[in-house]
Point group: C2
Chain length 137, copies 2
Amino acid sequence: MDCLFCKIIKGEIPSVKIFENEKIFAFLDVNPLTEGHCLVVPKQHYENIFDIDKEVLKDIISLAKDISENAKKNLGATGAQIINASGKDAEQAVFHFHLHIVPRYLGDGLEMNKWWQSKAKNLSIEDLRKTADKLLK
Amino acid sequence: MDCLFCKIIKGEIPSVKIFENEKIFAFLDVNPLTEGHCLVVPKQHYENIFDIDKEVLKDIISLAKDISENAKKNLGATGAQIINASGKDAEQAVFHFHLHIVPRYLGDGLEMNKWWQSKAKNLSIEDLRKTADKLLK
């Protein structure tokens, strides 16, 4: 399979690895949002959150917590963000499941909430109830 | 404790609940980015990824996968995003751990990558290795 992350895991494409065990692999993002921005991926090729094995997903979030703590302790981060995109319409770019860990710093300038607030709607409880009825049907 | 999400969990502030068990609670975001945008939170008050119990965190990501699948099946979502912000400098707004699940749809207009690409740097493997050395020390 012609998958960028499968090649990185196999060492066919260079990366800066920060963790590896039998099931998961973590490496620094070559286009980081902040210092220490990394990706945690399953070694087995799953495309996204829809097809990934739940136990592997749990291992991945557990490592994300450890890495966030390390970034705080060793890089001076004062916060962290966890981000996943699953599916082309979710703007996923590489179709091998990956969880971004983005250490955050005072004055790092990301201003994600500026983007967020420009997109968020303000709905009533009644509007939301219609969605919940559909979601839970 | 004067915590918005603790009050929502206790029913003191109205919300549209979509899941509840002994440990976790999920409800629709009243300022959604897309239809079905919801929050999964621990019932016990943890502030963020740094202090949350790992087992609870695993339960939360597991439910996030289930909800993503439901949004695909019942709302017609074609993708999903998972987002957490931990810490004031990560632009966390409510200091009770919460994982956003944002169902994504063709043409939903979020354009997160426009924001992302405006902030990302382009680093060399050598630059990244310095960060890894600090992170793993």
